[in-house]
Symmetry: C2
Subunit: 410 residues, 2 copies
């Protein structure tokens, strides 16, 4: 059985958190200088682990194992949310590097091994799952041309050029090369903690729908325009949003979640009636029927608002990702490894967050494993996981990988 080195793993995680450190977390948006620097450092760690590392034309860092024999691909992402946590994504990538080292150092595992990837921009600074989409062949050159940074509008082409990745070939999956794909991640929620379990074996990844909802009013002076004749896009947005919260609460399933993460009024000055307003809406559920029901509520409210006026509303679909079921044999391997290292202390559970595994699953069998998030917190610099849980998780992950590869060798 491969034996991971917990201290070596933790040291790598801490070193990685130096790139873009923000308070106790990390601010490392995709293709920021800190992100680019961290990719080069990661490539050097992959080389040190005995892999042949390269960074491809979309920013994916991939460490390939020389020689023949069955291979398991492992990975996650190393970009972060704005002012995000130190483990979200990174932990899964460095688990891969640590497992690669453990396989290299175990003579019983000669002839099988792991390869490791950091997929670019899982966190959607330019496009959700940019790197994994590229790898599975779901990102065209035209898509790249059309993509811009969600915050400052920088074209993706410009960011790639500035990062030094433009013009490089983009890595593409060869399904014959891999037994499958395995991804580890922090849970990002509080289920493991509240159930006092240390390992989560993921059964499926929730579907996510994302929308931009835009209201068009008439910009005018906030003092001289009488209330009855105003067409205030901000008022329209607030009324719409308030109604949506109430209707979603009535239509949702027990695990549904919905969030308005951004509201923008234009031009955004205290003495000007907003002429345009937009909000970013996202909702998630594991059940396709519930997803369809929530989308129906949204469409109905849009239709009613456009009928009643005074500000027209338009909806743009930003993403519509269905739920993804994880490979059954991979779930069994993870469960068996968890039962060895944490007997009775693991559970099967859905993922309430999206992950690169749902994209890679389009071309390879895929599995996922969770470790607990303290207080269920993530997407915030205070995100953390007990060090003992981080180390335990990596050992379970290595053991599961060995089980999957041994089964493939037979």
């Amino acid at each position: 059985m491969p034996k991971i080195d917990g201290a070596r793993l933790i040291a790598d995680l801490k070193r990685m958190a130096d790139f873009g450190r923000y308070k106790t977390g990390v601010h490392r948006p995709t293709f920021s200088p800190q992100d680019v620097e961290s990719r080069h450092w990661l490539a050097s760690r992959m080389e040190e682990a005995g892999l042949e590392a390269s960074i491809d034309g979309i920013g994916n860092v991939i460490g390939r194992r020389p020689g023949d024999g069955p291979r398991l691909l492992m990975g996650s992402h190393t970009d972060t949310q704005p002012q995000g946590g130190w483990l979200d994504g990174v932990m899964g990538v460095l688990y891969g590097v640590e497992v690669a080292r453990a396989f290299r150092d175990d003579p019983a595992l000669a002839g099988v091994g792991v390869e490791v990837a950091s997929w670019a921009d899982e966190e959607s600074h330019y496009m959700s799952f940019l790197g994994s989409k590229s790898f599975v062949g779901e990102l065209s050159e035209a898509d790249i041309d059309a993509t811009r940074n969600r915050d400052d509008g920088t074209p993706l082409r410009e960011a790639l050029a500035r990062s030094g990745f433009a013009g490089r070939p983009r890595a593409a999956v060869d399904p014959a090369r891999y037994v499958g794909y395995l991804e580890a991640h922090i849970e990002q929620g509080g289920y493991l903690e509240s159930e006092a379990r240390r390992i989560g074996v993921v059964t499926s990844i929730v579907g996510i729908h994302g929308y931009r909802v835009t209201f068009t009013g008439v910009q005018n002076h906030a003092g001289t325009t009488p209330m009855p004749i105003r067409k205030d896009a901000g008022v329209a947005l607030v009324r719409f949003c308030n109604a949506l919260y109430e209707r979603f609460a009535a239509a949702s399933g027990p695990r549904s979640v919905w969030t308005v993460g951004r509201i923008l009024l234009e031009p955004g000055a205290p003495a000007i009636i907003p002429g345009r307003a937009e909000m970013l809406l996202q909702f998630r559920d594991g059940e396709p029927a519930t997803m369809a029901r929530l989308e129906g509520v949204l469409d109905q409210l849009v239709a009613e608002t456009n009928q009643s006026g005074p500000c027209p509303v338009a909806v743009e679909v930003l993403s519509r990702t269905p739920p993804t079921i994880m490979d059954d044999r991979f779930q069994q391997a993870l469960a068996a490894a968890a039962e060895v290292h944490a007997p009775g202390n693991w559970m099967a559970m859905p993922s309430a967050a999206g992950h690169d595994a749902q994209i890679i699953a389009h071309r390879l069998p895929a599995g996922m494993m969770f470790v607990p998030s303290i207080g269920g917190v993530s997407h915030h610099y205070s995100e953390d996981t007990d060090e003992a849980d981080i180390v335990l998780g990596c050992q379970v992950f290595a053991d599961a990988a060995a089980r999957i590869l041994e089964a493939a060798r037979r």
Copy 2:
């Protein structure tokens, strides 16, 4: 009677609109490069009109009349709202320059005259009425130290230094020097147009209260945090804002207006539950009792929200300006001049917008005059006024100034 030159006035207005032109309007925020450049150009036009021009330590451009005799101060502002109109503020300043030329060219007016000011930052990029407050002695050095740009946080000190105005003396009003202050402005509303009048004689300027309302939640992952345990600052803001709109509609007077011009959710990403949210609220009315009633509604809703939770709300008062009555003799002079040049086509009316005149009125008798806004539009690049109305307004303004100064000479 002074005779203004309409073509010369229009040419100046059009030249001024070149500084920061945006579509058919102007984008010239205070102390932007375009704003600074326009102040130097304005000073040169004042010199050409026979005034001694200087720019003071807060960015006020002041043209002083050499010699003795009664003086009337005229002015307004030349900074603009973001993507604002070409006449808002600027017209009143260039009326002053044109009237100065008309007085200079009329031998009957020897011994009296006008002085002209462009007050810095009427539009609140740093502080409402920054320049006029400085002129009347209501802006301390500590106030300047503490002031920052409302959009990007640039310290005012830094902006003054970059503009080349830091270290210059700040002009201060000498009440003995002036008969009073007269300001012309576009109406910015639709009352003149709907009543088919070409001149408005302002009776009073409305009071304005401005607030920042801040909600504190808990930032977390938008997929993995179940709805019942969320503390979403954005949801709290939307509910509060929706309730406020309804309660204000019930408590307001016939001419009350209220506006939420900006909403900000932090960190503002689609997959993060907002941990903090803020909105800028402003309301206006000519009646002190109505202003107090609206503030009471706000305070009551804040108290209820803090009692019910889950996100605490805090209110910061940004401004609390009472209504200002215009000088009675100045109203009469403007009315008499309007009756000569536009018989039956003028009206007395309150100003629904704030103006530098309300600040200068703290130290000098003050009057104001309006010309119509096409469609009542302002604070938008499409803002406009019929050229004939612009020229007529300047002639009325010059005539009223002559009447006020002749009365002072007797």
